[in-house]
Point group: C2
Chain length 398, copies 2
């Protein structure tokens, strides 16, 4: 049958993730991949999960398998609220909504906030999954400037003055793709601006627990509680395959997110929520998190050392204290997609940076490197190969 | 902060489920509830789930907890395709997309097909969850007539001639809310009309496995394979808390559903999909399904007997051979919401039927009765109480 006449206009704004094709290439046998953004499988608490699945089936035989409340499984909401309180966010279980991954929050926010043509502000570069969630609702993006310390407050101030923003979307800790973290003083300025302009900020924070050195910084939510929707995820501290995210949003927004979620998926898996509740309340997360940090910390060190050892002086890169990514900027004119094609021919993959920008033509000389999947030796070899191909690319362009 | 100016226009089209409030009332202690639409917890295969969780953790330690493909966990896609083939639907694993409940299919269909003001055709009454999925995309509804044998083909033909329908939404087996099943000859006529008008039909089929007597009927999908998106669910044959649904859609539509799902929730829980794959491929479903039928069959019989025993002759009701619901129509002028308020005062709940109609003012004299949650004795008592209050209502109105 003829389908072209049936699709909604918004599909013109939707596209398959370009990175998906890169990840397919990156997952070919023999490839060293610095392309992905996924946790190392050895970080999954399998023994704990084995114990908890048995316990959940005993303890919640009905609730874990029955339809449940759209807002989430109450013990999990309580457990997350209690952790958020420890992090300075004043919220109780009623204030936490459980979603199908943090992707579920981003889609819900798009659905209840964005009418076609509405303006929302995002960092440049920003998280691609957020753009994929927002794009079907057809917003216009206002680009926020960032530097080594992440989002630049003056750029946010200009955007707030010059545009009627529906919301500002920020990843303040170990950002995907840059790995950058916004320092304390800037957080204070950003929170003050948001309050002053009575604006809504979405604080997407999947990586803050993956800190390998240095001190945790207070959340924007703790500095502007009425103006921030704080988005979290259990994908990096439990397992992404369980698809568990959450949001602590101001009440009028939370109410609409729940109504929207009734139509989207009714509720998130009760069984997985019950597992996560046990994982949090039983002290398992606190015991397991140091093991995750132990897995990733030497990988990050190996990557930073390899970059210092192999990369040409014309490149600069972020030096994160956690997360999963390092961001590299090459000299102007370098075509990082050409570099990508040449390193893939040498069985080494990464993600060219331009995909993380909302404007075409930006970020052509940048790249995102992931350090959680490869081992230290492979990281060094891959970084060396990439460095050689960057140097080859620089000879033709710069 | 001021939120009213932030919400998308589409929220004007979204509303919390009215039934949710009724279900809250229905779940109060001491209440006999014929209001819900949920499986009996004793139908959940807990011992099997205990065995399968352990096996899945052993067998798929990485895949069950890692990010997975948006299309679904390949062994589950294969297993569902193989069952669909047995039911006469010619599809392979590549043709099956796994979603977060069948609600996830309905939301995805709305997202990729409905632009504001587009027309879609639904039965009157129809499944409320479908309306909740479609409403945020702001369609106009074209009402299809139905009688004791479900959707009336002549009504569909008129709709196809007079409107430019994006799609037709039908629940052919043991429909929610009516319990009605479209007989074979009508299915042939409906499929022929859909093919003739080159239209798209969404066949939502969560209940077909819950058949307690009579013979299964062929799906509309098997009669018009290129024109039907067939939607299924594991909620009634495994457990709704796992949130597993699926769709076998024509390829151009399936492609867009996958792209949309990347932005909605990335993918459905890998762990739950792996559990379901084992449940299907290991023969557990085939062994467990007769036990579910054994639980529900006497409840349906008890309800039909109680209706015959207690209900006034002015009422008529459906006589389903399966599913979870019986539909009652009282005499014109009877206010079933008044009846509801009076039976609730006597600790007996059901759902007034008007919520299942897209047009206000329709169905005021109708009700949906669920028979899966209460035991046979409670069903008889509840039906007697409802009958008494209907008679009281008839004395004031008719």
């Amino acid at each position: 049958m003829r389908f072209d006449r049936l699709f909604a206009q918004r599909t013109g704004n939707m596209a398959a993730s370009a990175i998906r094709e890169i990840l397919k290439v990156a997952s070919q046998p023999g490839m060293i991949s610095l392309a992905g953004g996924v946790p190392a499988p050895e970080s999954f608490p399998l023994e704990i999960l084995r114990e908890l699945t048995a316990r959940v089936i005993d303890q919640y035989p009905a609730a874990a398998f029955q339809y449940g409340p759209t807002e989430g499984f109450p013990p999990l909401r309580e457990a997350i609220a209690s952790r958020l309180c420890q992090a300075g966010i004043d919220v109780d279980g009623e204030g936490v909504l459980i979603t199908s991954g943090s992707q579920g929050v981003l889609d819900g926010l798009g659905k209840v906030l964005i009418s076609e043509g509405d303006e929302i502000a995002v960092e440049a570069p920003t998280y691609l999954g957020a753009l994929q969630a927002f794009n079907p609702y057809c917003p216009r993006y206002v680009k926020l400037g960032s530097d080594d310390e992440g989002l630049i407050p003056a750029s946010l101030e200009r955007a707030l003055k010059e545009h009627r923003l529906k919301f500002v979307y920020v990843v303040p800790n170990f950002q995907n793709p840059t790995g950058k973290t916004i320092p304390l003083e800037r957080r204070r300025q950003i929170a003050a601006l948001i309050r002053e302009h009575d604006a809504l900020l979405v604080e997407d924070d999947p990586y803050s627990s993956l800190r390998y050195e240095g001190e945790s910084l207070p959340t924007l939510k703790s500095m502007a509680p009425d103006h921030v929707a704080y988005v979290g995820s259990l994908s990096k501290v439990l397992a992404p395959g369980l698809r568990l995210g959450y949001v602590a949003a101001p009440e009028p927004l939370a109410k609409w997110l729940v109504i929207a979620k009734q139509g989207i998926d009714l509720h998130t898996s009760s069984f997985n929520q019950a597992l996560a509740a046990e994982y949090l309340t039983g002290g398992y997360l606190d015991r397991h998190l140091p093991k995750i940090v132990e897995i990733y910390k030497p990988k990050l060190q190996a990557m930073l050392q390899a970059l210092a050892r192999h990369f040409p002086s014309e490149c600069c890169w972020s030096r994160p204290e956690g997360g999963m990514f390092v961001w590299v900027e090459g000299p102007k004119g370098l075509n990082m997609e050409d570099v990508y094609r040449r390193t893939v021919a040498r069985k080494t993959a990464f993600v060219p940076g331009r995909f993380f920008f909302v404007e075409n033509g930006e970020g052509g000389e940048t790249m995102r490197l992931n350090f959680t999947m490869a081992d230290e030796e492979a990281i060094d070899r891959a970084v060396r190969i990439i460095a050689e191909e960057i140097e080859a690319g620089m000879r033709t362009c710069c």
